[in-house]
């Protein structure tokens, strides 16, 4: 199982986000520790995507603080004094999207090497070796020369995971990464994520797959109307919910 120390990789304090007058996140506190897997669940529109996208500042918080390894993140691209910039944050915190967002003009291998070569200035040969190794891990070595449009959804998402891993991130953010997949392709992607969790990757996962969340997460957060309405172990939150809205939410998934 995961090595679980108490140094938080990502931390939010009173994180808020408003779109105009509409406040979507109403002061969220999260501490994502090294080796920990946190699942975010909640009804549609509760702010799960907004929150996870605030964690790498794809969405700019309108209040509160975000810390990466105890250092405050400020909204500029470059580091500034004690504070770290968005560029540094994103170099160390990967993200996988619901709709894959692979680069269609690049091959599978180029998709995976793009970050290391362009952002980290890793020598091409080294980047390619690491990429081939990662593609092997997600079971796609033989597809390295293919273009994304020739892949199935499940294959695309596995390439997207390899692309994020190629940056050797300290944490991964996953936003409903199986929601755009045909049901028979969900399993292959979940298997890759489960393996990452076993290997100790720190992850925040937004998901509607309750069984998967219960299985893979150390901690589950139930987000409702912009606040964390319940938080605890999978046993507490998913199998034995207290909050009536959470009971209703979980009941729907058990059919």
């Amino acid at each position: 199982m995961a090595i679980h120390t108490n140094a938080p990789i990502l931390e939010t304090v009173g994180l808020r986000k408003s779109y105009g007058a509409h406040e979507v996140l109403k002061g969220l506190d999260l501490s994502l520790d090294r080796g920990e897997v946190v699942a975010l669940i909640g009804p549609s529109g509760s702010g799960k995507s907004t929150f996870i996208r605030c964690l790498n500042m794809l969405e700019m918080p309108t209040g509160g603080t975000l810390r990466f390894r105890q250092k405050e993140v400020h909204p500029g691209f470059r580091d500034k004094g004690e504070q770290i910039g968005i560029g540094t944050l994103r170099r160390h915190v990967g993200m996988v999207f619901q709709h894959f967002n692979l680069f269609p003009h690049k091959t599978v291998l180029q998709n995976v090497t793009e970050g290391p070569i362009t952002v980290c200035k890793t020598p091409r040969k080294e980047a390619e070796e690491r990429a081939m190794h990662l593609l092997g891990q997600v079971g796609l070595s033989e597809k390295h020369a293919a273009y994304p449009n020739h892949l199935s959804g499940g294959q695309k998402q596995r390439v997207a995971i390899a692309r994020a891993l190629a940056m050797q991130p300290e944490a991964l953010l996953l936003d409903e990464v199986t929601s755009a997949l045909d049901p028979e392709l969900v399993g292959e992607v979940l298997a890759v994520i489960r393996k990452l969790a076993e290997d100790g990757m720190t992850m925040a996962i937004v998901t509607h797959e309750m069984a998967f969340a219960a299985d893979v997460a150390n901690r589950v957060l139930f987000l409702d109307q912009g606040v964390i309405a319940e938080e605890g172990s999978p046993d507490q939150v998913i199998l034995n919910p207290q909050n009536p809205r959470l009971q209703g939410f979980v009941a729907r998934f058990h059919g």
Partner: protein, 221 residues
């Protein structure tokens, strides 16, 4: 009525046609190069967050897209000098107007190509730590350029034809030379048919190439 074609009588003037054609090419290529630069800057202004730049760029685009090129040429040659005092060389006025005209259209083509790229592409680039510049040059532009290529070629073909209008301010392009030959020989049918043939000879390969590129791009998508 049968017309008696007589290309013999305009043959002595072949060098005028060639010279005119050369001038047309120079004005086309020159205004396209300048137009790309103008279009690029205008597009950057439109996509920047600066309201003032944005408004200036839009006003420029709408003025040049909503007036006929002929009107613009006449204005720059006859009216503009009165505004600033002095006179303007007809070749300068011609090149300037053609460049500003095509630049306004290029800007719209560039902008359309860039905004047509899915937002997820920029987000994926950002998520692996790319700067906005890296994301634009390595991820967005390569895809956008491919998409805008057919419209770009199309606009450039139109630009070649549009250069013929500079003849109204006495720039000695192909259309102007055809009129000169006609004046010398009183052979309008031959003079203007040769002119038309030369335009076709120049543009047919271009339109064919554009069609071919468009088909190729569709296959690779």
């Amino acid at each position: 009525m049968t017309y008696h074609w007589d290309f013999q009588s305009i043959w002595p003037f072949w060098d005028l046609f060639l010279w005119g054609l050369w001038i047309s090419i120079v004005y086309t290529v020159g205004s396209i190069v300048a137009g790309i630069l103008i279009g690029f800057l205008t597009c950057a202004a439109r996509l920047s967050g600066w309201t003032v730049l944005n408004i200036i760029a839009r006003v420029y685009q709408e003025v040049f897209r909503c007036t006929p090129l002929l009107v613009q040429l006449l204005w720059f040659y006859y009216a503009f000098p009165l505004l600033v005092g002095g006179s303007i060389d007809n070749r300068v006025a011609g090149m300037l107007t053609l460049s500003l005209y095509v630049g306004a259209f290029y800007a719209e083509i560039f902008r359309g190509g860039i905004v047509s790229i899915d937002r997820g592409q920029r987000e994926a680039a950002a998520a692996i730590g790319m700067s906005p510049w890296q994301s634009m040059t390595r991820i967005v532009l390569p895809q956008a350029l491919k998409r805008m290529l057919p419209s770009f070629i199309n606009q450039s073909v139109i630009q070649f034809k549009n250069t013929s209008l500079v003849s109204v301010i006495s720039v000695a392009d192909l259309a102007y030379m055809a009129a000169v030959v006609n004046g010398q020989t009183y052979r309008p049918l031959e003079s203007y048919t040769v002119m038309a043939g030369l335009y076709i000879a120049m543009l047919l390969p271009l339109t064919q190439a554009a069609d071919w590129i468009e088909r190729r791009l569709r296959v690779s998508d």
